[in-house]
């Protein structure tokens, strides 16, 4: 028998029941909860008179709707101006109280984007199965965990049973070998991967990321890569545990200590694919070929190196591709053949569960230090991923660098990643964004999103258009 992949190991260690028809019950160690996808699940429990199976497996935090302006934030929930957002955040609090679920409330110092908070607090650990009613739950796979997004019915299902009904996915290995050029980051790597396999390339697979480049990435960088596995269609992305993982977890508030720590580390050292493991599909990229990436269209696979030019529908291979390119060009207000570096920007957003960790903020600060945001930029904002990230950045003086350069320094939350609060693009505005989705209307009705790394976004803020950070 051939060896097991990391995914196989995580699957088998959590298998409660295999059914004849191919479905299985998988035990879930941690459920993360936020305000948008949980109210209907709690309501379902209430209607059926059910209770959470294991209260200590759940952790809640509001993130999508919370305001990021200090003045609005200071009043806590009561201070939220939009009554519908306020009700949603209040409903999370009420539900957590009713069902005795632990929550980092809106102005808790530990509050933040659920996918930043989990690893940071040690609430998500290697070897766990982790779910959340949010597709970017794949982020936590960076710690060697099986983590995926689920719908609200499944949120209710996991609360009530501690299990998820699943079908085993196929295994895909994405290897990136070699050494990245200076200025090329985890974000560029994952955008290049999506450009290569497409937004549906990972459908039905669990993707393991491996190779020299992935090993060399920091834990923050690995989270950026796994975060966007879903943008390649894969519900789960993961990376083997190594010394870096263990070092990252050690000392986190909810990480094990003492003897339990020793036992845990021993178990975690097994969390990698065996040498003779067989993958259903292997994709290989060379690090040297990866340049800083910029999306030009309305799907993350519509991505190009910064020195590229916007595609011409006339050169499309198929009719549907031609139509997709034409529609994207029209929506984005771009012309075929236009250089990426000629795209003028109106706003810059540095934040989201993809790129709002301390390392991302350091990279952006290094670029804008001693420089000024271009006059043509209407708004450039930095939204730290959590209260902890914010504190750390302030200790390092990064906030001063941003403020001096003319960027706004905000309170933690999802913010303009999906524009459920008041941070939005206006119709027709172009935004350099470190988030993960450039869908039509994602950052505001008619808004035009270009996905980039934090360094690329920062450089674009200074020049008012895209530039190659490798020349910076």
């Amino acid at each position: 028998m051939s060896g097991q992949t990391l995914y196989d190991k995580l699957w088998h260690s959590h298998l409660v029941e295999q059914r004849d028809d191919g479905s299985a019950l998988i035990y879930i160690d941690r459920q993360l909860i936020h305000e948008v996808t949980s109210p209907q699940a709690f309501e379902g429990l209430r209607l059926s008179g059910r209770k959470p199976w294991r209260r200590d497996a759940n952790l809640a935090v509001p993130d999508h709707n919370v305001p990021t302006e200090k003045s609005e934030r200071e009043g806590g929930i009561d201070g939220i101006i939009d009554p519908i957002s306020r009700l949603q955040v209040q409903t999370l609090d009420d539900n957590c109280k009713d069902f005795d679920i632990f929550e980092f409330e809106i102005n808790d110092r530990r509050q933040g984007i659920v996918h930043v908070v989990g690893p940071e607090q040690g609430a998500t650990l290697p070897g766990m199965t982790i779910v959340c009613g949010d597709s970017h739950t794949s982020t936590h796979g960076a710690l060697g965990a099986l983590a995926h997004g689920i719908g609200t019915s499944e949120v209710e299902h996991v609360m009530a049973t501690q299990c998820l009904v699943q079908q085993k996915m196929k295994n895909m290995l994405v290897r990136v070998d070699g050494t990245l050029q200076p200025g090329v980051t985890a974000k560029d790597v994952v955008l290049a991967i999506i450009g290569e396999i497409g937004t549906a390339g990972g459908t039905g697979y669990a993707i393991e990321f491996g190779g020299d480049v992935i090993r060399a990435l920091s834990m923050e960088g690995r989270m950026t890569v796994c975060n966007m596995a879903i943008e390649a269609g894969a519900r789960a992305g993961m990376i083997a545990v190594d010394e870096k993982t263990i070092e990252y977890v050690e000392g986190r508030p909810y990480a094990p200590t003492g003897e339990a720590w020793q036992r845990a580390v021993e178990a975690w050292r097994e969390l990698h694919s065996d040498d003779d493991a067989v993958f259903d599909r292997v994709v290989e990229l060379k690090a040297e070929d990866i340049k800083p990436q910029v999306t030009w269209g309305t799907s993350p696979e519509m991505v190009l190196p910064v020195d590229g030019t916007v595609p011409d529908p006339a050169n499309a291979q198929t009719g549907s591709e031609r139509e997709a390119i034409s529609r994207a060009l029209e929506y984005m207000g771009l012309r075929a053949g236009q250089a990426i570096t000629d795209i003028k920007l109106d706003k810059v957003f540095i934040g989201s569960c993809t790129n709002s960790r301390i390392e991302d903020l350091r990279a952006a600060a290094a670029v804008v230090k001693g420089r000024k945001v271009a006059d043509s930029i209407k708004l450039a904002m930095v939204v730290p991923g959590s209260g902890r990230v914010k504190e750390q950045a302030e200790q390092e003086g990064l906030h001063e660098v941003f403020i001096e350069a003319g960027l706004e320094w905000r309170e933690p939350g999802c913010s303009m990643c999906l524009a459920m609060n008041s941070d939005k693009l206006g119709a027709g505005e172009h935004c350099a964004s470190t988030s993960n989705r450039n869908f039509e209307g994602r950052q505001g009705f008619g808004g035009r999103t270009h996905l980039v790394s934090p360094a690329m976004a920062a450089a674009a803020a200074v020049t008012g258009h895209f530039v190659d950070v490798r020349d910076w």
């Binding site: 959590h14 409660v16 029941e17 059914r19 028809d21 191919g22 479905s23 019950l25 160690d29 948008v36 996808t37 109210p39 209907q40 059926s48 294991r54 209260r55 200590d56 519908i84 009700l87 632990f102 609430a123 650990l125 070897g127 766990m128 009613g133 597709s135 739950t137 995926h148 689920i150 719908g151 609200t152 019915s153 209710e156 299902h157 009530a160 049973t161 501690q162 299990c163 009904v165 937004t199 549906a200 459908t203 039905g204 879903i230 269609g233 894969a234 990480a255 094990p256 036992r263 845990a264 178990a267 799907s299 997709a324 999906l418 459920m420 989705r437 869908f439 039509e440 209307g441 009705f445």
Partner: protein, 215 residues
């Protein structure tokens, strides 16, 4: 859950690839704490010319006459024909809730995004994957014939076209069983409660650091 046995109804087009969940139901409507009422805002940005807001009366909004769902011939449609990678993006179940609330019971496409596909079954909607060539042919027939209706028979796993052609489709056995009988997933899983408890006890011995109250 609503059961699904046979659905007969008009087919309507969503003729583009990679239709994402933001397009199916824009995020401003996700602020609702309810499960129902999303139908009027299904495909909001395509259906209307203005920007939709939650709680608004959609009946006097300017509609986009170019959008097929606004055409008289597709009114009352219960089957949606779509292109590849339908439902990509977020895990929001608001997407199937909106489709269901609008009246769609079945979506036919060459491929679906995983989470969306799964979410459909939880809401009594049947997503059917067919060969791209077959889907294209159904699109052509639908465009050519006003009132084009299909019959979807889940028990027999067949789609029947107006010319009585039968097209077979695949569906996973467990999901089919649940959908046919309108079974509540949670109730089914709780039948295995004993097994879950056994597993949990073993797992707690083996990995005690995964248990314990957060504070």
């Amino acid at each position: 859950m609503k059961s699904f046995t046979t659905v007969q109804g008009i087919a309507a087009p969503m003729d583009r690839a990679n239709v994402d969940t933001d397009l199916i139901i824009p995020k401003q409507f996700l602020k609702s704490i309810k499960r129902s009422g999303f139908g009027p805002n299904l495909f909001d940005e395509l259906r209307y010319l203005d920007q939709g807001e939650p709680g608004q009366d959609c009946s006097d909004r300017p509609v986009n006459e170019d959008f097929p769902l606004n055409h008289a011939r597709y009114q009352g449609a219960s089957i949606l024909l779509a292109r590849e990678n339908f439902g990509c993006g977020s895990s929001r179940e608001h997407a199937p809730w909106a489709l269901d609330d609008y009246g769609f019971r079945c979506i036919i496409a060459p491929s679906f995004a995983d989470i969306f596909y799964n979410n459909c079954f939880k809401n009594g909607i049947l997503p059917i994957e067919l060969d791209e060539a077959i889907v294209s042919r159904l699109f052509e027939e639908m465009y050519a014939n006003e009132g084009y209706a299909l019959t979807v028979d889940l028990e027999r796993q067949l789609i029947v076209t107006p010319s009585a052609e039968e097209i077979a489709f695949d569906v996973d056995g467990f999901r089919k069983h649940c959908l046919l009988n309108g079974l509540d997933d949670i109730g089914l899983t709780l039948e295995s409660a004993e097994k879950i408890r056994e597993f949990e006890a073993r797992w707690r011995d083996q990995s005690p650091w995964l248990f314990g109250k957060l504070a």
